[in-house]
């Protein structure tokens, strides 16, 4: 039964409620027909409705045909009550903690009730059980969805986890991708940029490396050419000079000169290998440097074999034919010589040696300049390992007709190779120069360039080079470019793989005439990029490992973070769910309170019906004793139940914060006295004194909620009564002005300290309020409720004010009660700005102290009786049973300066009286006869007025002795006034007897100050009249009156004397009074001050005076009706008007016309007043006339204006098909307003101020219409 959700229970409650409604409305009920008959339902509902209608008066005579019917009705009411109780408690159960004993408990409750109802309720209980079972099963029915919801909760939980995981993973993956990308990019960019920059650097380097040997080559070639051309020019010059050589000597001289010139040129260029001149006649002159042994040689051919003439006879047209190699080489016979020379000076250093021609050096011949232009070629010499570069230029004769000689210059390319070697040494690369055909000219390696073949030294091809690198490079180039003239353009490659290594290969093409050359550079990649490559991998590894690290760390971070976030999310979700749960709980609690409030209200209605019907039954004489006992028991139970309901209603009202205190002026003292009067009956039965002791300074009129204040004291006093079996209950009250509050108070000085703390708080708060708002006097009213009961254990002093808390749980059985009373009290006291507490008390019993902050109207004067009483020379004898009340009264009177004699039983009273009236005590018998004489002689005694206040309890009523006692008292009647304190159960016989004897001052107990004051005032008045009377001296006729109605007559005559000139009206009344003269009527008139006392009399003893009053009133009413027009006789008119003036005026107007008027203050009330009627109308079988024949509706009203109200009424009427004429009352005098009024469904329209005639005619026309 853990049905925590009120919402799931909701339908149960409402179903029960609707069940109730259904049964009231007589439609199909939830109950099965075999249990319940439709007739019953109808009957019940009729009764219910009747009760609703009549409210608390509960006079339902029409439907009570016999006892049986009453039983049925009570049963029905009880049933509906219990249904509501079911609803409440099932709601309560479900709203509160789950109770495993729910069912038995409930059943137990039921049986308690059913015992009380003594079987009358058996069938109802059965039905209720069926209802309970539906109530029980409904939560079970609701169970599966709840479980499903919890399942979905688990699913949601998983889903949330899952989604968190997914989110986490997604974030991680994203991070990984990011980091990976970053890494790759970093790596890529570093790699690419370094690589390109390095490449460009390497390119520059390679270019430089290649450029330099080529430049060197170029330089060598240039210098060679320069030398050659200069040799040629010089040769030309010399030859021209000696062209006409006629003899041998000149010829020799020519050769000598030529030799010198040649030497000069040769020696100026150290790089030259050789320099040769071959003349046309075959003579050869040459200088040669042997680089191996650093010697310089002069080589020349033998002159002997050459003719001197021959050159001049050369055929110019065909010089080539004339001078060919054949001719030269054919001249084998010529002898060649070689003589070593000093390299610096050119002097001959050694002997000339004969050498074979062309053996040492290449002598450039005519064949090498076939077209007469300069020519280049690479030559190979026998003496050097390196190839030689030789240039040849022809020397032309004067007129350039023929070639005279050929100059040849050879330069060793060795230096180029040397340079290359130096250049590439650092880089570990290779460089080589080839001719266009691929012959190696120079390499950086030390491998020989020449190959020793059969035909002597020959140049090697690059691809045949002994150096592997060069060979493979050449091959690679060949392979890559397929011999397709690759040599003519530049090649740069960084990716050639030669052998095992990767190389950069660059080639340049050097285009020289006759001797185009190609330079190739191979540099191992490792040497340039090696470190980069190595670093590249390292960088990559480092980068990757770093990024992996970052990734891992990032993932961990994400995990931790998301973990936190998810935890927070979880917490937040929990928080939200808790918040929701709390809101729901609050809502359900609110709902509970509201429901309780509503239901208690609903419950009271059938409860009232039950009680009313029971009262009717009890009046029935036909009941047997047993039945009577049973019914009175039911009556008591019902009353208890009603009280409980009221308490619940109060509590729930307070809980739901709907308790609003009224602010109205009322007489606090009177209310409290009424309360004590009320409880005194109960007290008297228990032999407990109920005393009220309100100090004189208590403000007479205070502002506040009288009902609630009374409720406080009623609860406290009833509580006290409950626990007090003997002794007294005192309600004390005194007050303090908030501003002039001081501690030097005579009362309860020892408790002051306890209160002081509260006072300050109040004072502050109070002052603030005071400044802020009103000029009323805020008073602190202190009250004490003291009893002599069993008392409360000090440990419980606080907790008794809690809900459902009692000092001793076992007392419930003894005294009953729910423990709600004190809770309500404390809530109310707090609400009024006060506090309540239990205070230590001497002796047994409880002392509750409380104070309230109530404001009093500023200008209410305090009454003071002191002067009045003191000057009248009063003497009071208090003969009262109650010790406490007597003590309090005597103390009070003493303070006022009134002498007091006390007596607490009959004998003491007699003693006191005899002492007081000693002189008269002997002559009791004489009293009647010669009263006048006596009164004269006892002037001194007569001067003071004796008041003897006697409790009726003093008389011995159980036997007939009381008459004797009265006789005894009669003796004192003349000189003293008797005031009798009656009990509620004092029999009529005694009262009549007392009255007969002239004891007219009678008040109902308990006696308290106000009553005392009334008594004293009455006595004073009476005695003053008596005084007057004595002066005037009355005739015999007055004797009768002296016994019977003396005071009244004197008074009335007195009055008439005073108001002689009053209006005729009052004298008329006086007349009627006299006409209707009865003993009691006069009595009632003679104590107008004691009105409430009298009314109590009336109420309790059903004094016949009532009748006379009634008669009087009816008589007056008749008169009035006779006088007035009765145009609207018999009409019931509902007047809805908020303006008090208009209310009054209209009411009087209508009433004068004979209509009955019910006044309501606003539209809501008007609608309510009608809706009740309409509901009743729905179910009344006989179609009686509507309770209201017409509504006068003001248009502008608070809460709901006339238009709205009319609409609401017309809506309600739609169902019942009735139509009440509604007349608008408005100060809007415009036609649009009239239109509006008619539009909302009003029938007519009257403007303010109301014109009487117009109104009457309107009303009559409308009501006539209906009839």
């Amino acid at each position: 039964m853990e049905a925590k959700k009120i919402i799931t229970e909701n339908p149960v409650g409402s179903s029960l409620k609707s069940d109730l409604d259904n049964s009231i409305h007589g439609s199909k009920s939830l109950l099965t027909p075999n249990e319940f008959e439709m007739d019953d339902v109808l009957e019940e509902s009729v009764v219910n409705i009747d009760i609703c209608d009549e409210g608390d008066q509960l006079v339902v005579v029409d439907y009570v045909k016999d006892t049986y019917a009453n039983y049925r009705m009570i049963e029905a009411s009880m049933y509906s009550l219990l249904l509501a109780a079911c609803a409440i408690s099932s709601c309560e159960k479900s709203a509160c903690a789950p109770n495993p004993y729910y069912d038995p408990y409930y059943g137990g409750m039921m049986t308690t009730y059913s015992q009380h109802l003594l079987g009358l309720m058996a069938s109802a209980v059965r039905r209720i059980f069926s209802n309970i079972s539906t109530a029980l099963t409904s939560p079970e029915r609701n169970h599966p969805p709840r479980r499903r919801s919890s399942g979905s909760n688990v699913y949601q939980e998983e889903f949330r986890c899952y989604s968190v995981c997914v989110a986490r993973l997604a974030i991680m993956v994203m991070l990984a991708i990011l980091i990976g990308l970053l890494t790759l990019l970093t790596w890529h960019f570093t790699k690419v940029y370094t690589r390109t920059s390095l490449n460009s650097l390497a390119y520059g380097l390679r270019y430089e490396l290649l450029q330099r040997p080529i430049l060197r080559m170029w330089k060598i070639l240039n210098s060679t050419v320069e030398i050659t051309t200069s040799q040629v020019k010089l040769s030309e010059y010399v030859i021209r000079k000696y062209s006409k050589a006629e003899n041998q000597a000149q010829q020799v001289e020519l050769y000598e000169v030529m030799r010198d010139i040649t030497w000069a040129l040769f020696s100026s260029r150290k790089a030259l290998n050789s320099m040769s001149i071959k003349y046309r006649n075959g003579f050869v002159q040459a200088f040669h440097r042997d680089l191996r042994d650093k010697n310089t040689y002069y080589i020349y051919s033998n002159l002997d074999n050459y003719t001197m003439v021959e050159p001049y006879s050369m055929n110019r047209s065909s010089p080539h034919q004339e001078w060919n190699d054949q001719m030269i080489h054919g001249n084998v016979s010529a002898i060649w010589y070689r003589e070593p020379l000093d390299p610096d000076t050119g002097r001959k250093t050694g002997k000339q040696k004969e050498i074979p021609p062309d053996e040492l050096i290449n002598i450039a011949g005519i064949s090498q300049v076939p077209d007469g232009a300069a020519s280049w070629h690479v030559a190979v010499s026998k003496f050097t390992k390196s190839p030689l570069l030789s240039a040849a230029l022809p020397v032309w004769d004067e007129d350039r007709g023929s070639i005279v000689a050929v100059v040849g210059v050879t330069t060793a390319l060795y230096s180029v190779g040397q340079l290359m070697k130096e250049l590439v040494e650092l880089h570990g690369g290779h460089i080589y120069l080839t001719s266009q055909e691929g012959w190696l000219l120079a390499t950086s390696s030390s491998t020989p360039l020449l190959r020793n073949s059969s035909s002597g030294f020959t140049l090697t091809m690059a691809k045949d080079s002994e150096d592997e690198i060069i060979q493979s490079a050449a091959k690679w180039l060949n392979k890559t470019y397929h011999d397709k003239a690759p040599m003519y353009h530049k090649v740069h490659s960084a990716t050639a793989t030669l052998g095992q290594q990767r190389y950069y290969i660059d080639s340049f093409f050097l285009n020289l005439t006759r001797l185009p050359m190609v330079g190739v550079l191979c540099i191992p990649r490792k040497n340039i990029m090696g470190k980069v490559d190595a670093r590249e991998i390292k960088t990559l590894i480092i980068l990757i490992s770093a990024s992996v690290c970052i990734l891992v760390v990032g993932c961990i971070c994400i995990f931790i973070l998301t973990n936190g976030v998810s935890k927070e999310m979880n917490l937040r979700a929990q928080l939200i769910s808790h918040f929701n749960a709390r809101r729901k709980a609050e809502a359900s609690s609110n709902f509970k309170s509201q429901f309780l409030a509503n239901m208690s209200h609903e419950l009271r209605t059938p409860m009232a019906a039950v009680i009313g019907l029971l009262d009717i039954l009890l009046c029935d004489d036909s009941l047997t004793n047993e039945q009577n006992a049973t019914i009175s028991q039911i009556r008591r139970c019902s009353t208890a139940l009603l009280r409980l309901l009221n308490n619940i209603l109060d509590i729930s009202k307070v809980e739901s914060g709907k308790l609003v205190l009224e602010e109205a002026e009322y007489d606090l003292g009177r209310e409290l006295e009424g309360l004590v009067d009320m409880f005194s009956v109960q007290c008297k039965n228990r032999n407990v004194e109920a005393i009220i002791d309100i100090s004189d300074d208590m403000p007479k009129v205070v502002r506040g909620d009288s009902g609630r204040v009374i409720q406080i004291f009623a609860n406290l006093i009833s509580n006290s009564i409950k626990f007090t079996t003997s002794g007294y209950i005192i309600l004390r009250g005194w007050c303090e002005n908030l501003n002039s509050f001081s501690y030097n108070e005579n009362f309860f000085v020892d408790h002051r300290a306890l209160w002081a703390a509260y006072q300050k708080k109040i004072k502050r708060k109070g002052l603030d309020e005071k400044k802020a708002s009103k000029n009323d006097n805020t008073m602190i009213l202190f009250f004490e409720v003291e009893d002599t009961g069993c008392g409360i254990d000090p440990s419980k002093w606080e907790s008794v004010f809690e809900s459902f808390e009692q000092a001793d749980p076992s007392t419930t059985r003894l005294h009953g009660g729910t423990g709600l009373g004190l809770c309500i009290v404390r809530t109310l006291v707090n609400k009024m700005g006060g506090e309540i507490r239990v205070v230590k008390k001497k002796g047994t019993g409880t002392l509750m102290q409380l104070y309230l902050l109530l404001s009093t109207p500023a200008d209410i004067p305090r009454e003071s009786y002191q002067l009045k009483f003191a000057e009248h020379n009063l003497k009071v004898v208090l003969a009262l049973n109650g010790r406490m009340s007597r003590a309090i009264l005597s103390r009070w009177l003493h303070k006022l300066g009134v002498p007091i004699w006390e007596a607490n039983e009959w004998n003491e009273l007699t003693r006191v009286l005899q002492e007081l009236f000693k002189p008269t005590s002997y002559a009791q018998n004489l009293m009647y006869e010669c009263s006048e004489v006596e009164s004269l002689s006892k002037e001194g005694v007569e001067m003071s007025i004796f008041i003897i206040v006697i409790d009726i309890g003093m008389l011995n009523i159980s036997t007939d002795i009381w008459k004797e006692q009265l006789n005894f008292l009669d003796a004192f009647n003349r000189r003293s006034k008797f005031a009798w304190i009656l009990n509620h159960d004092t029999s009529n016989a005694i009262k009549i007897e007392l009255r007969r004897r002239g004891h007219l001052l009678m008040v109902n107990g308990p006696l308290y100050k106000t009553k005392m004051i009334q008594i004293i005032e009455a006595v004073i008045k009476e005695s003053s009249l008596e005084q007057q009377k004595k002066n005037i001296m009355w005739t015999d006729a007055h004797e009768r009156l002296q016994i019977d109605s003396r005071p009244s007559h004197t008074k009335s005559s007195n009055e008439s004397e005073i108001t002689e000139t009053n209006s005729t009206r009052s004298s008329q009344i006086e007349e009627t009074n006299q006409e209707n003269f009865t003993v009691y009527g006069v009595v009632s008139n003679c104590f107008p001050e004691l009105t409430e006392v009298r009314s109590e009399w009336d109420r309790l003893t059903s004094f016949p005076n009532d009748n006379s009053n009634c008669e009087q009133q009816t008589h007056q009413a008749d008169q009035k009706v006779k006088n007035g027009q009765k145009a609207l006789e018999g009409l019931h008119i509902l007047l809805a008007e908020d303006n008090l003036i208009l209310q009054r005026v209209a009411t009087i107007m209508l009433e004068q016309m004979g209509a009955k008027v019910v006044v309501v203050g606003d539209g809501v009330q008007a609608v309510e007043a009608l809706s009740i009627q309409i509901e009743v109308d729905n179910f009344k079988t006989s179609c009686e006339s509507l309770p209201y024949d017409l509504i006068l509706m003001d248009c502008q009203m608070p809460k709901m204006d006339g238009y709205e109200a009319t609409k609401a009424i017309r809506r309600a009427e739609m169902e019942s098909e009735s139509h009440i004429p509604i007349v608008a009352l408005t100060a809007h005098a415009m036609s649009s307003d009239e239109a509006k009024c008619l539009e909302v469904g009003m029938d007519a329209y009257l403007t303010k101020p109301i014109d009487c005639k117009l109104m009457v005619s309107t009303i009559l026309s409308l009501t006539k219409c209906r009839t």
Partner: protein
């Protein structure tokens, strides 16, 4: 008796002047007619109700018009009430001023409203004084033993 008839004559003159000067109208006569044995103090009662109500309404009006943002709707409803109550006792001049007042309210004319409030106050005090004097006169007549002459 001479004194009584003197007073009665005075009363009639005074009442007539009130009607002539427009302080009161037929409604007041109707009220007087409604007074009878069952409601001997009816006129006084209603008029004092009117006084109480009026004081309250005038206070409300004054405070409502002192607000920074004047709620004309509220003012209007107050004036409406005032109009209703004054017309019910027949205080004609007050009623008339109320009509003007309502017009100003509809125009939301604060100056006009304030002026009207003064006028209403003035008229109200006038009519109150007049009525109080009338009642005093009545009282005197009653004390002197005469009856209140009815106005026709």
């Amino acid at each position: 008796m001479a004194a009584v008839s003197q007073l009665q004559r005075q009363f009639i003159e005074y009442t007539t002047s009130l009607y002539n000067e427009g302080y009161l109208d037929d409604q007041f006569t109707q009220l007087q007619k409604l007074q009878d044995e069952s409601n001997p103090e009816f006129v006084v009662e209603v008029v004092s109700l009117f006084f109480e109500d009026s004081e309250k309404l005038l206070n409300n009006l004054a405070t409502a018009l002192q607000q920074k943002i004047v709620d004309y709707k509220q003012v209007d409803s107050h004036v409406h009430q005032f109009k209703g109550s004054s017309s019910s006792i027949g205080a004609q001049r007050v009623t008339n001023v109320c009509v003007h007042f309502r017009n100003y309210c509809e125009e939301k004319n604060l100056d006009g409203c304030l002026r009207c409030l003064q006028q209403v106050k003035h008229e109200y005090i006038l009519v109150r004084n007049k009525l109080e004097a009338l009642f005093r006169l009545e009282q005197q007549i009653l004390q002197a033993g005469g009856s209140i002459p009815m106005m026709e």
